[in-house]
């Protein structure tokens, strides 16, 4: 264990003011290490931290003690233990969750995320990758490119990590053999090309021995490229093109300390701004101008991408959390349906058609994911048919949200096109998504039928849609029986709706009179309404005299076969007339009422109704029971 001593950063402390000045203006590179299990990711970072003097004496002491008891190096220093900080990780000698570590050199500051190689913990790897500028993909020279190497490469490319380094590790085990290195890097090159990684640097390294980590190793004289650290220090950070794009700031919070001040707080995700600039509020599209850029230090005359700011606007426009303030001329779109690439992060698989929360920027909306278009096999890159996404699946699916949201495709801007899905019951983050493009609903009109159909809706209600169509003379008892049926069904927890002349004629059919044509139109509309209600999964009880066989057949034909149940309320004219509850028969007899069924207009008895109720023999209770029995028959 000799040889590992703490090294101070003495050179930097000579002229402290100059050092601070330089340090303050260093750029920041965020990177990750990824790749398959045991390829040496944690060891590499431990080594980098050690070499860049980030490991203090007490930590080094602790490390050498730990290496003896928990290490994988026969008691020699095990640099992975610097990273694997959870008890469970040290027990098993693996990484479970991302560790974030920090170091700096004279040139740059670094935040590195050490991600786990196990497939089971892919969600933690994605967490690290989502904010990285660069990824070091490790491959064990003895094992070559494995499924996890491919999965991680795919994910890294997917989330838009710009720079990729292939570190072929454990070169010590093959005597720093050039051929072994070339074999792996050319194999990887072929795969990388297929997934759209055009460029990457390949470096032969030994993480445990520190070869080609900070400086070039003598052991690989055949390799003329830079060391890992040299790449990290010099990689071009084209601090995102977001800077040149049109101004955009999602509103996070409205600042209202008193009635005179209304500020809009948020982080600028693209472009820049000066007071007076014309801006548009999305999704409303209202135009106004920025009056001030407010800050703790006083008003500012410019704000740009990456900063968290507070703005005031010239006009009193409606603007709240989740809306966007953008340049009047901008690249944003507003839509409520998207084609997305998804990474599923939860043990519980995606349930197409179910509601999730979707968070995009500061906006939280309700979303439904349709059945996946396909899943991607990370090995073969084939598109495979899938009914759902399981833990760690990557695939493409349509997402529909409950209101239109402003966005940009993910490749254009991560902050405007990346979203997470949240389970509404457990509140877990279950998926991550990248918007590819918006879908126009009209192009996708079948979508709703595919996912939530009438069977589905009825199933939620635990019933079969039905129409009980009660026909019979005026005063035959239709309404009384219908009411009894509905009450009983409601008690059984069934979802019903009662349609009768009263609720139809007062609203939807207000424009219709009692001519033959109008009577037919009346029944046609009733039929259409009943049909929509069966699509909604309801049990409809309709009570209409509907004296003509033709119109009853018309309705029967509108409704799905088997769902229309004709109930003939058979009460002889003499009895109906004797009851005459509403005094209508009297009026008809006296000639005051024309075209009255049974008097001066015919009633055509059904030939073979599903149910016939003889009200002279059974009472209302029995009649209702009889109807319900048939209605609930499956």
């Amino acid at each position: 264990m000799t040889g590992y001593i703490y090294k101070t950063d003495a050179s930097n402390s000579q002229d402290i003011e100059a050092y601070l000045q330089a340090h303050q203006h260093k750029s920041l590179l965020r990177f990750i290490t990824c790749g398959s299990v045991d390829d040496g990711k944690s060891t590499l970072i431990g080594r980098l931290l050690y070499e860049s003097k980030m490991i203090f004496e007490d930590q080094l002491e602790q490390l050498s003690a730990d290496s003896k008891t928990k290490g994988t190096q026969n008691g020699n220093i095990d640099f992975a233990l610097l990273l694997d900080g959870l008890a469970a990780e040290r027990e098993q000698g693996i990484t479970i969750d991302v560790a974030y570590r920090f170091f700096s050199t004279d040139k740059r500051k670094f935040i590195v995320a050490d991600t786990p190689g196990h497939e089971q913990y892919t969600r933690n790897m994605v967490t690290g990758a989502s904010t990285a500028d660069l990824a070091v993909i490790l491959v064990d020279v003895c094992k070559g490119v494995l499924t996890q190497t491919r999965r991680h490469s795919y994910l890294v490319k997917l989330v838009g990590v710009k720079n990729i380094v292939l570190a072929v590790n454990k070169m010590d085990l093959v005597d720093y053999d050039q051929e072994a290195f070339e074999k792996i890097s050319s194999g990887y090159r072929a795969f990388a090309k297929e997934i759209g990684i055009e460029e990457f640097s390949a470096v032969p390294i030994s993480a445990t021995n520190g070869e080609n980590i900070t400086k070039c190793s003598e052991k690989t004289s055949w390799y003329s490229g830079p060391s890992i650290l040299e790449i990290l220090e010099n990689v071009n950070l084209e601090q995102s093109k977001a800077q040149e794009d049109a101004f955009c700031m999602p509103v996070q919070w409205v600042n209202r300390p008193n009635s005179d001040f209304r500020g809009f707080a948020g982080k600028i995700v693209s472009g820049s701004l000066v007071p007076g600039d014309k801006v548009s509020i999305l999704p409303s599209g209202k135009i106004t101008a920025v009056s001030k850029i407010v800050s703790f230090e006083g008003p500012k005359n410019k704000a740009f991408s990456g900063q968290s700011v507070t703005l005031t606007l010239k006009d009193q426009v409606d603007c709240s959390r989740g809306q966007m303030i953008t340049a009047a001329e901008n690249f944003l779109q507003v839509a409520d349906q998207f084609e997305t690439t998804m990474i599923w992060l939860d043990e519980e698989a995606l349930m197409p058609g179910r509601s999730y929360y979707l968070k995009i920027g500061p906006q939280l909306v309700t979303a439904v994911v349709s059945e996946p278009k396909y899943e991607i096999n990370v090995n073969s890159l084939e598109h495979i048919a899938a009914k759902t996404f399981k833990l760690n699946s990557i695939g493409v699916a349509t997402v529909t949200v409950d209101r239109a949201v402003p966005f940009a495709p993910y490749h254009k801007n991560r902050e405007l096109g990346g979203f997470i899905l949240i389970d509404q019951v457990t509140n877990s983050t279950v998926g991550a998504g990248l918007i590819k493009f918006a879908l126009r609903r009209s192009q996708n009109i079948h979508w709703q039928e595919l996912d939530v159909d009438r069977e589905n809706r009825a199933k939620i209600k635990n019933q079969k849609p039905r129409v009980a169509w009660l026909t019979g003379l005026s005063g035959s008892g239709k309404t009384t029986i219908a009411n009894a049926v509905e009450k009983k069904l409601a008690n059984m927890g069934r979802h019903t709706f009662f349609l009768d002349g009263d609720n139809m004629r007062h609203g939807l059919n207000k424009d219709l009179g009692f001519t033959d044509a109008d009577r037919i139109e009346n029944i046609r509309r009733v039929g259409e309404v009943a049909k929509l209600m069966t699509d909604a999964g309801l049990i409809v009880i309709a009570a209409f005299i509907s004296p003509f066989r033709a119109e009853r057949r018309m309705v029967r034909e509108m409704i799905k076969p088997g769902e229309f149940i004709e109930v003939f309320i058979d009460t002889p004219l003499s009895i109906a007339e004797a009851r005459d509850v509403k005094g209508l028969y009297a009026k008809a007899r006296s000639g005051e009422l024309k075209n009255f069924t049974g008097i001066d207009s015919p009633y055509e008895k059904p030939h073979c109704p599903e149910i016939r109720i003889d009200t002279t023999r059974i009472d209302i209770e029995e009649a209702a029971e009889k109807i319900i029995k048939i209605l609930l028959k499956t």
């Binding site: 703490y6 950063d9 003495a10 402390s13 402290i16 050092y19 601070l20 340090h23 303050q24 203006h25 260093k26 750029s27 203090f56 004496e57 007490d58 602790q62 990273l83 900080g85 959870l86 008890a87 040290r90 479970i96 991302v98 560790a99 974030y100 570590r101 920090f102 935040i111 933690n124 994605v126 967490t127 904010t131 601090q239 996070q252 919070w253 600042n255 300390p257 001040f261 500020g263 707080a265 982080k267 407010v294 800050s295 703790f296 990456g306 900063q307 968290s308 507070t310 929360y357 968070k359 995009i360 500061p362 902050e415 979203f419 997470i420 949240i422 509140n427 877990s428 983050t429 991550a432």
Partner: protein
Amino acid sequence: MLTHLERLESEAIHIMREVVAEANKPVMLYSVGKDSAVMLHLAKKAFYPEVPPFPLLHVDTNWKFRDMYKLRNEVANDAAMDLIVYQNPEAKEKNINPFEHGALHTHMWKTEGLKQALDLYKFDVAFGGARRDEEKSRAKERVFSFRNKQHRWDPKSQRPELWSLYNALKSKGESIRVFPLSNWTELDIWQYIYLEGIKIVPLYFSAYRPTVERDGLIIMVDDDRIPLMKNEKPIFRTIRFRTLGCYPLTGALVSKAKNIPEVIKETLLTASSERQGRAIDLDPAGSMEMKKQQGYF
């Protein structure tokens, strides 16, 4: 292009605003140390011109340095924010102290005290000034760190945290600890304090102070509660502190650094980590993880 400090500042402000927009009743844990000072300063910036819309909570152990109590009261006053000081009544009653009770002292006053205060006031989100560079289980923690009804942290099932999208949803009784300074290092903190002129406890700068030695640590004699051995006299040394906790548990550094550049210079040259001066952190490995699982922030 933003410098790394500007990026860290913007990120912290973004995080704080997310919390205020989504929490029912947020609170800021204020321990009077340098990280708390930076966190509070960032909060003032995030919500300006409004006063940060949450109270400060000091979970007091009764054993902090006197200079800390003094600064705490001044700072809350200046900020015009409510300051809640909570002391675990059970710890008080049993006179739990660092001399007799060891680890129980931290557990009762800090861990239990914090849980009691959060439950009592029904705070659902608490800002903490912890940084990932402090300790290796912290390095694993999310910015939004989810706690169950018993305030437990489950390191094996943390929520994925992508981009700058934070999931702040939770069920009743559950809570979230939020760490806006997650990505800051000790050096970043010093540099920011220097650039922004943030007021900190004078104990961070060296002065001639009365001390005794205990278990290899130089302990400052801040008041007469510290038991002295027969014939023992405090020795005056030129010392300062790298972190501040309960005075009988916090080891001092012999140092001449009287201002921030000098402190930074020493920090760059030092061979030991920040937490080395803390007696409570010298427990076996994994202890911070265990404490956090029990609800320590």
